[in-house]
Symmetry: D2
Amino acid sequence: MSRIHHLPLHVEFGDCDPAGIVWFPNFFRWFDAGSRRFFVACGVPTWKELEKTTGIIGTPLVDTQARFVRPASYGDEIVVETSIPEWRTKSFVMKHRILRGEELLCECNEVRVFAQRTGADPHAIRAVPIPEDIRALCG
Amino acid sequence: MSRIHHLPLHVEFGDCDPAGIVWFPNFFRWFDAGSRRFFVACGVPTWKELEKTTGIIGTPLVDTQARFVRPASYGDEIVVETSIPEWRTKSFVMKHRILRGEELLCECNEVRVFAQRTGADPHAIRAVPIPEDIRALCG
Amino acid sequence: MSRIHHLPLHVEFGDCDPAGIVWFPNFFRWFDAGSRRFFVACGVPTWKELEKTTGIIGTPLVDTQARFVRPASYGDEIVVETSIPEWRTKSFVMKHRILRGEELLCECNEVRVFAQRTGADPHAIRAVPIPEDIRALCG
Amino acid sequence: MSRIHHLPLHVEFGDCDPAGIVWFPNFFRWFDAGSRRFFVACGVPTWKELEKTTGIIGTPLVDTQARFVRPASYGDEIVVETSIPEWRTKSFVMKHRILRGEELLCECNEVRVFAQRTGADPHAIRAVPIPEDIRALCG
């Protein structure tokens, strides 16, 4: 069983499009916030600290699949519920659900990797095996 | 065979995160721009015009799946290549590929619907059957 | 003396640029959230409700001046402190300060108006005199 | 006389808010793109290259003042016109005007500095005197 992290958010006016509903890239912004905050809650250092000690610069996405069930609008109070249902050798699955009270608004499954630089150019990054200490913290 | 629309974009400094690479929600911003610009290129009126005549307010996402192959960074010149590989009764599949020259950076398959309001509240929207005239324009 | 509203926020990874500090347009995003939340705290209805009864669609900016004192980075806990130091006939001044603990990060003075549509086109809006009931709520 | 750079942009659906007009933080996004593209057009290396040779990480804002004259909406073709009207010892003034054809939509005066790191923490940055070679390139 994975730990589940809950991140409460308020939908702002500027998060919505001319149809008056949340413009969907903002859901990905919130999934990403949920991802980072999950690691913080588990005691994983920030990427800026990890980069100094391990060279790890973050957990870029390899794949993501999201399903949108109901729209949200500004003024809504929502919660991003984040967990890691699966750890693989060089990647892990992160799951997010966004809820408004009991209602599911959307859910997302991401495949992410821990990435390290292989050169000075920002494009030069590669996936590294899941660090055991980070996995243990998230257990 | 679907029409393919090409939208050239320049990756800006502010599109990138502390790792120096594009922060992934921006890819979804660009997929959405590709989607709207595809319809414009086909001669489909803007949503603000369509709302007056048909009540259609846009094409919200039902599902999206994206695969990220290579990172991008600011200064990169990219192209969003958009097509509609499949029309269903009440939804359609939109496909986007983002390329830097010949290199594929990411690709995405979206399921979208045409939505109409069912009430004054922004949350009150529903999918309608694909309008035949819009489909004909996109053919 | 104006009422002061406090909006606590957490700076996210995606709010930061390749220099690792908050990319400044995000401060304007937070000023705007502070503005809307100020009105909510005062009991002013949402713009979607006001549009039905009064035609008012929001409080667009006419002018804004911001001063940036210290950078912020992800993981910082900040507070947006919002007030209305001045009401004029057709506009008002909104002031925001963003603080991290006791430290001032930036401050902003905005001139905003209450706007109404003058036609169906989104470009067709005009400033209206400050509604007395809204001003009274904010007093 | 300063060089003037023109950056053409298309206003996207997702740049607009529930009132159907551009949500103002996006104007600051475009001002910042205009700023970076001005330097590119002058032959100034990217910040990632400059950081390696000079430690300069970019040109953070110290102060900005913007005036909004007319709203924009999606589908509008706009141009960001950028110049540097004034160089000071440790800062410079950057001016942006956003036009739709002949119409001025907004204008902005920014005070920016060239910044260098003073430590590993992203918060640790300081303004440095204007590099003579960069100023010469922009002349």
